[in-house]
């Protein structure tokens, strides 16, 4: 796997220093982005030897951000995962994801009851729910629909849709990634704007489908406008810490977090507090919750600690994966951004 794109590595160690999994788990467990993407592959290392290392990556992409040589470390890591997958070395937890896709076209097992699309069947704005909002955290789906309704957006839900494919890319299953993409593009049919409340889906639509989707926050800010959003006052004064989901802040763009902060600050009674390393990964991504739950939990706990140190009452995250993982840590109340916003939006 000689890779010319890793040519520029100057061994500065920035990627290793920045990696949250290395920070939590230690180099003896997770050898870090540099070893995986730059060093180990150049010997023609047997791919299966990298498995337990590369699967610990949460795909937070911080390494790619800091690299002074602009080596596409995250892409390299995904390629290693693809090679591992092709050798049929998937982790147990990851096999479940594939089974769910094959049976239900969802990355998780469907919930017993699923919120109905309701009367939102027409409209040029296509709202894509995503697997988690539909099945694990239905409050997010309901809140997103409610938000869009309150904002008078001409939106509809797709009649039929499949998992966007993001988790499969993390697992390395590019065959299913392709299949899901083809199915979804057919199902989406015609629309003007694609909106989703999951940064994982948003990122995947950008990178894999080459679309120009908007996260709910971007839609509210750009299409509606922050001044047009009216809020009731929060019942008690709330100190809120805002977590920056990796895939929203890094891949969709820093502007999304600026929007999120600005909108939140318009809610009376809400005070946004500065949390240390708000952009550090919460551990929810990359399939690590399924593969190495203790790593995901340690990262979640570290994030909760940061929020507590900032004296926050509430830790808000605009991402269902973040919300799910952070909720495992306990210690502070966790809220999904869309749900929180909707609860106070007129």
């Amino acid at each position: 796997m000689a890779d010319l794109a890793s040519n520029g590595c100057i061994k500065c160690g920035a990627c290793v220093q920045a990696c949250p999994v290395v920070a939590i788990d230690g180099l003896s467990s997770f050898s870090g982005p540099r070893t995986i993407a730059v060093d180990a592959v150049r010997f023609g290392a047997e791919i299966d030897q990298l498995r337990d290392h590369v699967m610990r990556c949460t795909t937070c992409w911080r390494c790619g951000d800091v690299c002074p040589a602009r080596i596409p470390l995250p892409e390299r890591i995904l390629e290693v995962r693809r090679a591992i997958f092709n050798q049929e070395l998937a982790l147990g937890g990851h096999s479940r994801i594939m089974n769910n896709i094959d049976r239900y076209r969802r990355s998780v097992e469907p919930a017993a009851t699923v919120p109905a699309a309701g009367k939102h069947t027409e409209g040029q704005v296509l709202y894509f729910p995503g697997c988690i909002a539909e099945n694990r955290l239905p409050a997010i789906l309901e809140a997103s629909v409610s938000l869009l309704h309150k904002a008078k957006a001409p939106f509809r839900l797709p009649a039929k849709w499949s998992c966007c494919g993001a988790p499969l890319e993390k697992v390395g299953d590019w065959e299913r990634v392709r299949m899901l993409r083809e199915e979804n593009l057919r199902a989406f049919d015609k629309y003007e704007t694609l909106v989703t409340s999951c940064p994982g889906c948003t990122t995947h639509f950008v990178q894999n489908y080459s679309l120009q989707p908007l996260h709910t926050i971007e839609y509210l800010y750009e299409a509606v406008g922050p001044r047009k959003l009216a809020f009731e006052a929060s019942k008690k004064k709330l100190r809120v810490a805002l977590h920056h989901p990796c895939h929203l802040a890094r891949t969709v763009g820093p502007h999304a977090m600026e929007y999120a902060a600005e909108i939140l600050q318009r809610v009376p009674g809400v005070k946004l507090v500065e949390m240390d390393e708000a952009d550090r990964c919460c551990g929810g991504g990359g399939g690590v919750v399924a593969g190495y739950p203790e790593v995901a939990l340690s990262l979640a706990k570290a994030k909760v600690r940061s929020a507590i140190e900032a004296k926050a009452d509430l830790l808000v995250a605009p991402c269902p994966f973040c919300v799910m993982n952070l909720s495992r840590a306990g210690g502070i109340e966790i809220a999904d951004y869309t749900t929180f916003l909707n609860s106070l939006m007129k």
Partner: protein
């Protein structure tokens, strides 16, 4: 690609390392609207984090007194540049350094005001967050004044950043009259961790159990002065170190190697400082291109993965750094401007006399190349004409990158001067 709303500022600074942030802070302090654009890790973060204005192999110190003439002649070719400007080194240096010291201490970074070398500023001093042997000597030298000037270097197994054996091998067991002894300790709660990164150590040592174990280990040493590897984050540092010192009854400080990116603390402090002054930091954006009108640059198109944004400005400060940071690009044997906007070259200089085929001659040849500026710090367009409103600062300038330049301190000087000029034009 979708567009974000265009913005307008008085000054756009490209480059978010020490020079860019310092220029931005200086401009914001004068009530200019400033935006700083940057991406990736900066060379500042990768540097030693030490801010010496003068390389001490050039500068001859006299105790308590700075020889400004020597200083002036040593900061060549900067000297050539400001010679005909309205500023003199005598005037700008004190002003600059006091602003620098103030704005960093506001962000929790204490500066050493060393009697021996007024301009040799150590970040995080009181402790020596340093990795240069020279400042190490300085710190050790200060301990001369104490009754018992013995120093313990306490390495923590699993934390590679301070290798006491290596320090002693490099610096010897007696440094400026101070006796140095290397020790290693195992912190039981660290378990099997190896080669901890600075971030990892900060996480680990935020747990009280580990701090207790460290306190016990420090107390066991007989030396009254103890150097440990870095275990604090910037925001944690002052409080945490004070507690460590009082709990152990010793003078404890952090000592570190470059591989743990000591420059990160300086970087963080300067970011906060620029932000505190009112500069807007636009991270993780790249400049796609600059737009011109005649001999003025008028706006920049910024890009992220999904968005473009146009920022218009009255003046521009380019502080994109050297080869390491990426502000200059080595394409084959040619050093180039990645933006292809300004002229890159070498300052004529006959002062550097190195033997042919030597390392310095070869490296010099390449690393001396950088952005060319006029006496007023104005950048040159590719055709060689001076740009009206674009100024260069820092290691991006010809002859300012390490090892041929004069270090962080010299870069900060250029940033200060560039800021003054940019202010006038904006």
């Amino acid at each position: 690609m979708r567009e974000l709303r265009p913005a307008t500022v008085d000054v756009l600074v490209i480059g978010h390392g020490a020079s860019g942030l310092f220029a931005a802070a200086a401009l914001a302090a004068e009530n200019k609207t400033v935006a700083v654009v940057g991406s990736g890790i900066t060379a500042t973060s990768l540097s030693t984090g030490c801010v010496s204005i003068i390389r001490d192999d050039i500068f001859k110190k006299e105790k308590g007194r700075i020889d400004l003439e020597a200083l002036a002649s040593s900061v060549h070719p900067f000297n050539d540049i400001i010679e005909q400007s309205s500023m003199t080194l005598e005037a700008l240096l004190p002003e600059m350094s006091s602003f620098f010291v103030r704005s960093l201490s506001d962000q929790g970074l204490e500066m050493t005001d060393d009697a021996f070398n007024f301009f040799d500023l150590l970040t995080n001093a009181g402790t020596a967050y340093t990795c240069s042997i020279a400042p190490f000597y300085t710190v050790a030298g200060r301990m001369d004044a104490m009754e018992d000037s013995s120093l313990a270097l306490l390495g923590i197994l699993g934390h590679r950043d301070l290798d006491p054996d290596l320090m002693v091998t490099m610096a010897g067991r007696e440094v400026g009259g101070t006796k140095v002894r290397p020790y290693w300790t195992a912190i039981p709660s660290l378990g099997k961790r190896r080669e901890m990164t600075a971030l990892e150590a900060a996480f680990a040592f935020s747990r009280p159990a580990l701090r207790e174990e460290l306190i016990e280990a420090i107390k066991e040493l007989k030396e009254p002065n103890v150097a440990i590897p870095p275990i604090f984050r910037l925001t944690d540092y002052q409080r945490g170190m004070a507690k460590l010192c009082s709990a152990t009854g010793k003078n404890v400080f952090e000592l570190v190697t470059p591989l743990s990116l000591p420059g990160l603390r300086l970087q963080e402090a300067m970011s906060r400082s620029a932000g505190a002054q009112g500069a807007r930091l636009l991270r993780n954006r790249t400049v796609k291109k600059l737009e011109w009108k005649g001999r003025r640059v008028t706006s920049a198109i910024l890009e992220t993965r999904t968005r473009q944004q146009k920022i218009s400005f009255n003046s521009l400060v380019l502080a994109t750094g050297d080869l390491v940071g990426g502000g200059l690009m080595a394409q084959g044997a040619e050093v180039r401007d990645p933006l292809d906007a300004f002229k890159v070259g070498k300052f004529p200089s006959d002062e550097h006399v190195y033997r042919a085929n030597s390392y310095m001659a070869k490296m010099h040849d390449m690393t001396e190349t950088g952005f060319l500026v006029t006496h007023g710090m104005r950048l040159l367009a590719r055709d060689g004409t001076a740009v009206d409103n674009a100024f260069g600062a820092g290691a991006a300038l010809a002859s300012f990158s390490f090892p041929t330049g004069v270090g962080l301190g010299g870069s900060l000087l250029t940033a200060w001067v560039a800021a003054q000029h940019a202010k006038e034009v904006s």
